[in-house]
Structure formats: C-alpha cells, structure tokens
C-alpha cells in the first residue's frame, strides 16, 4: 500500500516542514509499517559546493576512521555527527566540499566499495532522513520536527518487493541531476524496459526497487531540460503499472498518477500551502480540507516556487 505525502509553502520562506510531514505521514501509518522517510528541502543552507552525506556504518572498530580517511582524500570534513540508529548501525552525517557536482557521485561510489558501509544519500539543498520503523519513532530519533524548510516529500512503506532496510526506505535520490527525490506508492510493471536504456547511458542501479528506477527516469528527463510538469506527463506515458509518484526538486513538488488511477492521490491548497497525500486524513494536518481534489487517472499536478 504505502503512504505518500508532500507539501510546499507558497511564500518561499522556511517553515516547520519536518513537523508538518511528520504529522501527515503519521496519519498514513496504517498504509505501511516497515520504514519511513523524509526529504526536506530549503532548510539545509549549505554554502555553494558543500554537500551533506548520510552514511550508514556498521558498529565495528576502525570503520569510521576508514570512512573519514576516504572522505578526506576528497574534502575537508565539516560539521560531523553520529546518530545512533540501531544495535548494528550508526548514521554518520557530515558536510564536505567538492569542486563540482560530478565528484559527489564518484565519492559515493568509492565510499560504497568499503565493506559494511552504505551511503544513504548526498545532497546540497535538501535533508534526507529515512530508516526502518514507524514514522513517529524515526521522527523522534532524527529530530525531524525541528527541521525547517520550504517544502518536502515523505513516505511510509509497506514493502511489497525488494528489501526492508534503511537504503530501501523511500525517498530515493538520483545523482543524474542534483537533488531529485521520489517517493512512490505502487508497482512499475515495465521496470526493465525503463531501467535498460538508463543503464546503457551509464546510470548505476544499486537495488531492484522500482522507485530507484523512477527517480533515475525523472532525473534523466529533468537533466534533458524537461520542466517538472513535462517530466511528470512523460512518466504517465512511459511507466506502466499502478502508481502514484511524488517528486521533490530543489524548487517544487509534483505528483503523477497512472493511466488507470489504481493508486490514491488527493490534494488541497490554500493561499499558503499546496499539499498532496494518499488520503484526506493526511491533508487535514496542514490545510483546511473542505475542498479536496482527487487526482484523476493519468493526471499530474505540480507546484514550483
């Protein structure tokens, strides 16, 4: 089933996006108990060419030092912290500086080659928080409610395919173009047809999860110069299966629903907020829902600031 939620503040100012998404996803907890995640845009405030990395590190002696040694070959480390996640792993969060964006993917690939570490994400304009467990527990563990931003997307997962772990939790990120994230509710039935041409172009897939395939597809379109709305329209034509996909970009959010409308998606807005979710009960946390719009089969909606 899975639950999806997203919101954007129209005034372009930062607000309590973490708190809003926590309450929106908390209302959708019944749709998926396995894991949950957030991508909160606009509050990270990193200087140009600085990136935040979230790295899962097994609790083993010297492993953290090995990661730091690898990082320092590319960059000085800024603002590091260790977040306790579970008995087996910690999340090492740090800030680095790179000369250009293409070096980020290269660095992440190098880090992923170290045994027992997994880079969860690397970002410039958004903060990624995802883990196994329930929304409220993850939100508390990572202090999500304190995180500000202009917009964000989130997910609560009922795993129907691929693994249940931190990396497989949504959102997924692509490094084809900066800071694109996707959460998804459904199944992509022409997965290999979409994945194959992307791989031929050199895009690396790390999982068999169809959301990873979608985020690369979306990022590829955006990198070709498509606008968000055009990208979503292309997704409706090219992707098969039941789905509602919710996309986050550095300046907007958007949803696309499959041609048969087999997965839910509703939206509501007022002068301040544009919000999307699987169900009305999620929207009720952030906007007056007297007027709720159903996203129709094959329809797309987006809002950019």
């Amino acid at each position: 089933m899975c639950g999806i939620a997203g919101l954007i503040y129209k005034d372009k100012k930062t607000h309590s996006v973490g708190k809003s998404l926590t309450s929106m996803l908390g209302s959708l907890q019944h749709r998926g108990p396995d894991s949950a995640g957030f991508a909160i845009y606009g509050g990270l405030n990193l200087p140009k060419n600085h990136y935040q990395l979230n790295i899962e590190i097994k609790n083993k002696n010297e492993l953290l030092n090995q990661v730091k040694t690898t990082l320092t070959q590319s960059s000085k480390i800024f603002n590091e912290e260790i977040i306790k996640s579970d008995e087996k792993d910690n999340i090492y969060r740090c800030e680095i500086k790179l000369e250009n964006y293409s070096m980020l993917k290269q660095l992440i690939t190098t880090l992923d080659e170290i045994e027992d570490i997994q880079v969860i994400n690397g970002s410039q304009s958004f903060e990624m928080i995802k883990d196994i467990g329930k929304v409220k527990d993850i939100s508390k563990r990572y202090n999500v409610s304190k995180r500000k931003g202009t917009h964000g997307i989130g997910h609560t997962r009922f795993a129907t395919e691929s693994g249940i772990d931190r990396y497989h939790a949504h959102p997924y990120q692509s490094y084809i173009t900066p800071d694109i994230t996707v959460v998804h509710n459904g199944q992509i039935t022409n997965y290999w047809k979409i994945r194959d041409p992307l791989e031929r172009k050199g895009h690396v897939f790390k999982t068999l999860n169809d959301t990873e395939c979608i985020v690369h597809y979306i990022a590829e379109k955006l990198s070709q110069g498509y606008k968000l709305e055009e990208t979503l329209e292309a997704a409706v034509k090219d992707l098969d299966g039941p789905f509602s996909i919710l996309v986050g970009t550095p300046n907007g959010i958007g949803i696309a629903k499959d041609k048969l409308g087999l997965r839910p998606g509703v939206m509501a807005e007022n002068d301040d907020i544009f919000a999307i979710a699987s169900e009305e009960m999620s929207l009720q946390n952030v906007v007056n829902t007297e007027h709720v719009e159903q996203i129709a089969p094959g329809e797309t909606r987006s809002y950019t600031i």
Binding site: H30, L260, G261, P264, V266, E279, E280, M281, Q284, T289, E290, H291, V292, E293, Q294, A296, P297
Partner: protein
C-alpha cells in the same frame, strides 16, 4: 428523538464502529464528532438509525450497511457505501474513487464530485452524483441506477451488463458494451421524483437533457 454523541477523536477505528453498533440499539440518532477521515466508519451497521458524521469520512464509509441513514457533512474517501444492501448514505462534499461500489440496494448520494469507477459492479440500488464523475463510471455495472448531474470522463459504462446510467452533463467517451440514447418520459418522471426527494433542484428542460447509458449486450464478457 433520542440522540447520542460519540467523540471519535482518540478512538481506534474498530472501537468507533463497535460504539456505533452498541448505541444504535438504544438511540434514534448518533452524532459522530471528530471523525478525522477514519476508515470503515459504521461498517456493517444493521439498525435503522440516523448517523451524522460531523466532518469527513475515510475509505469504506458505510460499507455493508443494511438499514441506517448516514449523513457525512464533509467529504468521503474511496469506496463510499461499498456493498451496502439497505439504507442511505449522503455525502455533502466530494467522494473518492468507487462511490457506491458493489451496492445491492439503498441509496448513495454524493452532492459534490466523485472520483473514478463510480458505481463499479453495482447490482442494485441508486447512486446519485451531484457533480462530476471520473474514469469508467459504472464499470462492470450489473444493476441499479447511477445518476450523474455533472460530466463523466472517459469510458462511461465500461463493460456494463445491466442497470442504467443517466448523465446530465457531457460524456467524454463510452466504454465497451455501452450505448447511449435519449431518456423516455417515464425515465424523466422517475428521475424527477428521485432527485426532488434528495433536494436537487433542476429545471424541467434539464430533465429532458439527461442521456441514458445502458448495455449493448447482456453477455459482454463471453462474446
């Protein structure tokens, strides 16, 4: 009339419906405060009690009811009135996909718009949509009557086998096995009786403008 108010704010879904069933035995009317779009509200209630939902309901509001008259004062989620056999479900706002799905009897009224697949596999009863209805309205319909005062989008009456869909607005396209014709005077008279009962005020000329969608064949899936 005896009334009882249930505050649903901190109630689990099953506890809410259990409370509704218990109090339906002793009261004429139940008012549900703070429904917060919960799913399955009043599922399986069989008492002829009035139930007023003071807000929005989630998925499957009034599923499998046999008797109560439910009034939702705001919106409803997917599958409103699913498989109901007797009673009334009135939604003042909009409804999600599958409103009136599989009903055998009774009446579902949505005063605003409905999503897709309205009246899917309905076998009897009446569904009235005051606004527009989406994709595949009346999908696999097997009986009853479905009335839409606004527009319907693509594939109306997809694979319809029996029953009738009346549409006052535009029909974007018909689904397989569906045909469209003008209404008879008898149809118009029945529509007026029904719509007037539920407070829809439309002109006499409008009644002549209803389109009637029925099945071409009684066995569309075996031909």
């Amino acid at each position: 009339m005896s009334e009882y108010t249930i505050d649903a704010k901190n109630m689990e879904e099953k506890d809410l419906t259990r409370s509704i069933k218990e109090h339906a035995l002793n009261y004429d009317k139940l008012i549900i405060k703070n429904p917060q779009s919960r799913h399955n509200i009043a599922a399986g209630v069989t008492e002829e009690v009035k139930i007023e939902i003071d807000g929005s309901a989630g998925y499957f509001i009034g599923t499998m009811i046999d008797g109560p008259k439910i009034h939702v004062k705001n919106n409803a989620g997917w599958f409103a009135g699913d498989n109901m056999t007797k009673g009334e479900l009135i939604i003042d706002g909009s409804a999600g996909d599958g409103a009136g799905q599989g009903i055998y009897g009774g009446t579902v009224v949505v005063r605003g718009d409905a999503g897709s697949r309205t009246g899917e596999i309905m076998k009897g009863g009446t569904v009235i949509i005051g606004g527009n209805s989406g994709f595949m309205t009346g999908l696999l319909m097997m009986g009853g009557q479905l009335i839409v005062l606004g527009d319907v989008t693509n594939d109306a009456g997809e694979s319809i086998m029996r029953g009738t869909i009346y549409v006052l607005g535009e029909v974007k396209s018909l689904g397989k096995n569906a045909k469209m014709e003008q209404t008879t005077l008898e149809d118009q008279k029945e529509l007026k009786t029904l719509l007037t009962k539920y407070g829809f005020e439309i002109t006499d000329i409008d009644y002549t403008n209803f389109k009637k969608i029925t099945n071409k064949s009684g066995k569309p899936l075996t031909e």
